[in-house]
Amino acid sequence: MMDSTNQHTVRAYGDELNQITADVARMGGLAEAQIADAIESVSRRDAELAQQVIARDARLDELQREIERKAIRLIALRQPVATDLRRTVAAMKIATDLERTGDLARSVAKRGLSLSDLEPLAPLTRSIERMGKLVAKRMKAVLDAYVTSEIAGALDVWSHDDDVDEHYNALFRELLTYMMADPRTITSCAHLLFMAKNLERIGDHATNIAEMIHYEITGDELDTARPRQGADDTPVSEKEPS
């Protein structure tokens, strides 16, 4: 593995690069908290917490723009190459994934707000909570891998993408069962279904981040053909019976 810990001759250059990486790490911490709080606002039916999550999303958007500005400035003024270039590009792309993650967490919180006015569906909420925790764990693991530049951690997240999909498929079937059994639950179930989709997308962003970490460290793209059952993301239960 190449060692890029040697200092730049122009020290300010190295400082600027480190600053961008630190900003991404900070943004990652914030995104993690947003996921966790969004899930919690749903499971506790806590409207106030949901409002906080919605309000805090603007901070993630601002951080993303800041990272992008710094990266563009660095590219223009320092013309980074090799590891420095990969680090800069990875920071920009990861910041975009984190910003999207924030949007999805906000969306979960918004639906949580709507749900808090409706009749609770405890077992389903617990399923969402379980899926949320799994997704949050993946995001945390991949961000830890980013901060420590540990490729094994990133690969672990990357290769376990199926777990989230399985959760999503199971939840989808569970929701269908409820809706068919009692049409009065359809409104709640639709909200929960969108939540599950949002969480599944957050899982995809964690996978993207794992790919960027791999590229940043090795310079090689991960093979895009991840080991998974189906090529599309249609839940198994939505498919026509054969």
Binding site: M2, S4, Q7, T9, P80, V81, A82, R86
Partner: protein
Amino acid sequence: MDAPVIDTRPIVAAGPKAPAHGIKVRTRDVSVFYGDKQALSDVSLDMADRAVTALIGPSGCGKSTFLRCLNRMNDTIQGARVEGVIELDGEDVNARAVDPVALRARVGMVFQRPNPFPKSIFENVAYGPRIHGLTTSKSELQDVVEQALRRAGLWDEVADRLDQSGSSLSGGQQQRLVIARAIAVDPEVILMDEPCSALDPIATARIEELIDELRQQYCIVIVTHSMAQAARVSQQTAFFHMGQIVEIGRTDELFTNPKEQRTLDYITGRFG
């Protein structure tokens, strides 16, 4: 130190669909000594035809010494001794039968500072074809001069003042004049030793554009201190350090994902 693995994949000559060309200049285990001092150790490098090979590395790393071996310019330095194999189209350039003057017509050279002869623009370009007896009539010579100046992108600027002194031109024009002089003798290889280091960014861009055009016809080897320039103009890059080649690679790969730590430290501006 381990000898770097020579990348034998074909160099893409011009754009993704252009055909790859063969090896024009091939060196194996080239070492150069100035008296007791060894300036170059066991350099093996293949330079493709119709492609630009850039040699980069810190001052004193041997890249200019290596470049000067390719047309036997080191013969002119007292006490210089060259070992190893240097082949142009498979022929040993250091063989006794090879006339260095004829060799230098096939392997032209452009230096850091433009060095026009103290003669007219026309004579600067006509000199080579005349001494090598490449033309038989005055009108033929005029054609050769015009063609060389056109290919060097200078014709439109000097067509109405060919009898003026070459040194009356701007630095960038002078550099294009000496490139015209080099290509007037119809060489196969053009060596460039920091051709843009004395030029402003606009003159530099014109030379780089010219290099890109000349690449369609020639094997070009360029020594440059500007890594950005190496990245812009070349298809293959060799990184020299302390008289040895550390890494040879496709330019895009070497600048995004170098394989050697010393290459990484050098191109990213770190102290190794």
